[in-house]
Assembly symmetry: C2
DNA sequence: GTCTATAGGTAGATAGAC
DNA sequence: GTCTATCTACCTATAGAC
């Protein structure tokens, strides 16, 4: 009765489930065996696809980045930058709106970002690079509006992360978009 | 050569080390054995003091709350509330300044807050209560300054949490206080 | 109060059958 | 490609000696 999957679909299904499991328990806290059970297979079967726990984590992050590449390019077009305050606010609102549709991903990144503070965490380098890039992108967008876009970018990202965390805590039944728009309106001159 | 400790000092020493270990690897990710080794004792010796891993975690949180009780009462005096914008900003700045002196604690709470999103996490109830109380305290302080102190309190807490996380990421060599003061100045009318 | 010893379970990973 | 079986290592917790 089990649907047979080809290699690619199976890998994708495992990675999707891994987002939830790692988001719930963290990299150190989840087990390959638990993840495999949720995928209706054995741990040995799962490891056939990814080789090791660390490789699996890196595959999750790579997979997400590949999926998100187009969306990010559309949100942050470098050839057609936002021109005024209204456009900048719309860009940020679109980022938050996109995240609001994918709570498991927001949770995964919230969890890994804290775990990866440890220099020996397998995702440490990933987050150093990723967060630096995010700050640069945000600063570029804020350039026309601020004398110190780097500092403002930090504050915008901080507010976003903090509100998203509260939104996760409240079982998603608080109005993240409204709260974000109010913050952005105050934070961005 | 080992210094002999009485029961209370030994417990306190274990709890202090536990803050660092749990902050680094999370509740699921750390082991009693690792913590015990860092305390120069065996796991059985450590469990004599706390009984179980879960009890240890709750003891850490209780211990911190007891230690912080006076500081919190001093920062948020209900009988002498802040009267104007300048005073409110000073209260919040004092909160951030206090956190800036205790990075291991900030990291512990950052880690546990995300882990404890899971309803079956031993600290889940603790954070539901704690964060609700924090929002109420912040809203009370913001009452005289805002039409919607509850909403603003969320945004203030979000910005604080987000900036503190970035400060942890950057090995503490970015100016948390300056960044916070800039944010607060914009966020609080 | 801390130790050794150990029980009983689970971890990540590998080997080889099908 | 997934399984069973297994290795080795580690886990939490308890029992009992000192």
């Amino acid at each position: 009765m089990r649907t047979r999957m080809n290699r690619e679909d199976r890998r994708a299904a495992i990675l999707d489930t891994a987002i939830a499991v790692i988001g719930e328990r963290g990299f150190h806290g989840f087990s390959i065996r638990d993840l495999a059970m949720r995928c209706a297979m054995t741990d040995a079967g799962l490891l056939h696809h990814f080789g090791s726990k660390t490789d699996l984590l890196l595959a999750v992050l790579d997979h997400r980045d590949a999926q998100d590449e187009h969306a990010i390019a559309a949100l942050f077009p470098r050839d057609a930058p936002a021109r005024d305050r209204g456009e900048v606010l719309r860009v940020f609102a679109a980022v938050v709106a996109r995240n609001a549709e994918r709570p498991e991903l927001v949770r995964l990144y919230a969890m890994l970002r804290v775990e990866a503070l440890a220099p020996d965490h397998p995702a440490h380098a990933y987050f150093v690079t990723r967060d630096r890039l995010a700050r640069r992108r945000f600063a570029e967008i804020l350039g026309p509006l601020s004398d110190s876009p780097d500092r403002l970018a930090r504050q915008v990202i901080a507010a976003m992360d903090g509100l998203e965390l509260q939104w996760l805590q409240e079982d998603r039944d608080f109005d993240l978009m409204a709260s974000w728009n109010e913050t952005a309106d105050r934070l961005i001159a």
